[in-house]
Symmetry: C2
Subunit: 455 residues, 2 copies
């Protein structure tokens, strides 16, 4: 048939019959964007330990957070509701990039010689190229509703800072970002991206805050850490009128916003004719991307509809789940945040500067820590050379250079696919590819020119 600019006879729009075993991707429509976020807390057999007030060591009261968060987010942080409605202005912004694609990795499967059916949920086509925007627009919205004028935050590799820069601009707020100094210097494109959206960015620790000056004195020449940058941002928010703080991971409300990822993926797998996946791999830093893709599948497990093995893939250089302790710890280096029960490497942990792969936080989100502690999730640590080797195999096959962070999840999935090839099995594997690596190319250069240490 000569396709001559008109419509094929079956009509202009695809039906489910168009999606089959040879298909690469399923596009949902805007009307398929979830109307509600999923909160797993009421579904957990054992409730997660509450955050504590660092002074009284009593469970945190909502008002303890009111100096830095708006009530809309504080309510979500402690919510016992399973489904929380997504406000229409947030859903409207989601339409700029959601539903995100779920892609069958046919070419990766062939490159690996596996009978596993590999799918990946790709968040890299969002504004700024990562999943972070899912929570950024929600947080900016609730703060704008509360009359806040400015949000202050920290960022490591820069995904969160650029997501919040976009989101604050969309809701008419100012944005101030404290970026871990080592990535501010080594990945300069990231702060230009934030500045393009109108944000102001400072390398951290800076001399703009008491916390920053104290940290510079305590750790001279430090490359910085997320914990340090959080201390600076929290201090600015807590001491300024009309200014709130915004966190890109770890907290319950951030994981909540990210569940749109997993909710969409469940729908999309069904359109591919799959049931629930046998294995799910997500990269694990603070836990928001991991929770976003995994928690809706964990619900399917808990309700007996699925039996998905969920694996958190963390970097060997910041291995909170596999090497950390499960205890109450601060979210920041200076001890300004509430105490969170989490797997932690200690609040003053600074990853080795040789580590190029993102995911540098010292702790793991309390919900994901609890889920891991209760045996509902596995965890592996991946060294960075294995991660980038996996990322390049993926890029050549799928035409997408993944974010450094995502490479850890891909490495985990590649291990599983190779095991399946050896065992002659054909599991369904789902990978959370949290972002695009176009701004991580200096790390790829390190891998390619052989200077990347195997840490």
């Amino acid at each position: 048939m000569c396709w001559a600019g008109g419509f094929p006879k079956r009509g202009p729009v695809a039906t489910v019959r168009d999606v089959n075993a040879e298909s690469y991707r399923v596009h949902l429509q805007e009307s398929d964007i979830p109307t509600h976020w999923y909160n797993i807390v009421p579904d957990l057999p054992v409730p997660p330990p509450p955050p504590l007030n660092p002074g009284t060591k009593e469970p945190l009261a909502p008002e303890d957070l009111a100096a830095i968060f708006p009530m809309g987010l504080i309510a979500q942080e402690a919510s016992a509701e399973r489904w929380i409605e997504i406000p229409e202005p947030v859903r409207e912004l989601y339409k700029l990039w959601r539903p995100s694609p779920l892609i069958r990795a046919h070419r990766l499967e062939r490159a690996l010689g596996t009978n596993a059916r590999i799918y990946y949920k790709y968040e890299g086509a969002s504004p700024v190229g990562s999943h972070k925007t899912n929570s950024a627009v929600a947080q900016a919205y609730y703060n704008a509703q509360a009359g806040v004028k400015k949000l202050v935050t920290e960022t490591g590799a820069g995904q969160w800072g650029s997501a919040l820069a976009f989101a604050t601009e969309a809701f008419g707020l100012e944005c101030e970002v404290y970026q871990v100094r080592s990535t501010y210097d080594s990945k300069p494109y990231r702060h230009v991206l934030m500045e393009t959206f109108g944000a102001t960015v400072y390398p951290s620790p800076s001399d703009r805050t008491n916390a920053g000056r104290a940290l510079q004195e305590r750790f001279p020449d430090t490359p910085g850490s997320l914990g340090m940058a959080i201390s600076e941002a929290v201090e600015v928010a807590a001491t300024s009128e009309g200014v709130n703080y915004s966190l890109g991971s770890v907290l319950n409300h951030v994981l909540l916003h990210q569940t749109v990822i997993g909710l969409e993926a469940i729908k999309q797998l069904k359109l591919f004719g799959e049931q629930l996946p046998d294995q799910l791999y997500g990269c694990a830093g603070g836990g928001s991307n991991l929770g976003g893709i995994a928690l809706p599948f964990l619900r399917e497990n808990l309700e007996g509809r699925g039996n998905t093995e969920i694996t958190a893939c963390e970097p060997a250089a910041a291995p909170s789940l596999t090497q950390g302790e499960y205890r109450y710890d601060f979210g920041d280096t200076s001890g300004m945040t509430p105490l969170l029960k989490m797997y932690t490497l200690g609040a003053d942990f600074v990853p080795d500067p040789v580590h190029a792969g993102g995911l540098r936080y010292h702790g793991m989100a309390p919900i994901m820590s609890h889920v891991y502690h209760e045996g509902m999730m596995k965890a592996i640590a991946v060294k960075q050379r294995e991660a980038f080797e996996a990322g390049i195999i993926f890029a050549k096959a799928e035409g997408i250079v993944p974010a450094s962070e995502s490479n850890h999840a891909i490495a985990g999935a590649l291990r599983a696919a190779r095991e399946a090839a050896e065992a002659g099995t054909s599991p369904v594997i789902l990978i959370g590819v949290s972002g695009s690596g176009q701004l991580d190319l200096p790390a790829y250069a390190e891998y390619l020119n052989g200077t990347m240490l195997d840490a």
Copy 2:
């Protein structure tokens, strides 16, 4: 309604009824990827002047090109067929990113306060982030079919080089790229991207070729140019066994491959309930992106179905259409290519190094030159500050940082939208957004910090 992970009642897949005036994007399905490329040559009222053999000044014979191109592409270069079938392996690769989205720029419209309905066709989600991949995979395919082992090419900003690096890897070919020295140095992420896909990249002019050495002697300390890099790549291909040359724009077969952009856009506009657009803006360098989006709409004009005003948007720093001469000229600086009838600034043109916006070629594709000469297309020149100002307005509204090149088309469309607001009209405007600007952030930094000259 609480969306609880199941399906909405109307069934899992959208129908055309889901797309309405409030929709942001239309996703076509894989089965909607065109099966044929569109060749405008047989539809043109006056045939375009043929390329000439530089020795005899006679029209080029197919065998004149056989030293550097495979017969499959040579046949396309001179084809009189309106529809040329896309080989299945190429169409299979297209599925990694096609159909590309057509997006209604609701938020941009609101930011501009215009009643114009603005749509953009976005090619930035392709492997490597630009439209170039559309032709790269086709060229790699025909060369692989012909038994070629290696492709050599030039690249300016790096989009073409990285597209060909991806495509050659997909078809098992080697890839060698000569990159204009100024962008090799100023945009280092680009060559890392090519290297990630396995290509070898040299800054040009290099000392690896006779052409490069002669150019270094003739123009000491030159920042390089596309014309120079083409000379080097053609020399390598013409003098090596099993090695062919590949060009990322200008030639008929390259424009042909890019017509998938416009063919999809026509379908997608209909799904939005639009007829053909009133105005179309594409950025103009060598002409392949412009031709790719515009030629299918020009066909609609020629056949009386549409009346779209097509505007080529070129940089004021390399204004071949608005400032060049329409004459036969070489495609490269050293005079190794056939003579092409085109609007040209002269084959030894080197854009001012202050120009940050891509689109640096000295000439314009013969087909687009002819179409312009015949009055079927308009052209405007845009200075770079206006281009980047437009790009930032677009980024803040749409959440996509456009490629430097694409900013020129956006600037043209913004002029039109503002005129419409003043005149109280509501035209339908289509913009070709040829790529993502994530690797162009150094140019955005120049604009933001005020060091960008208004050239």
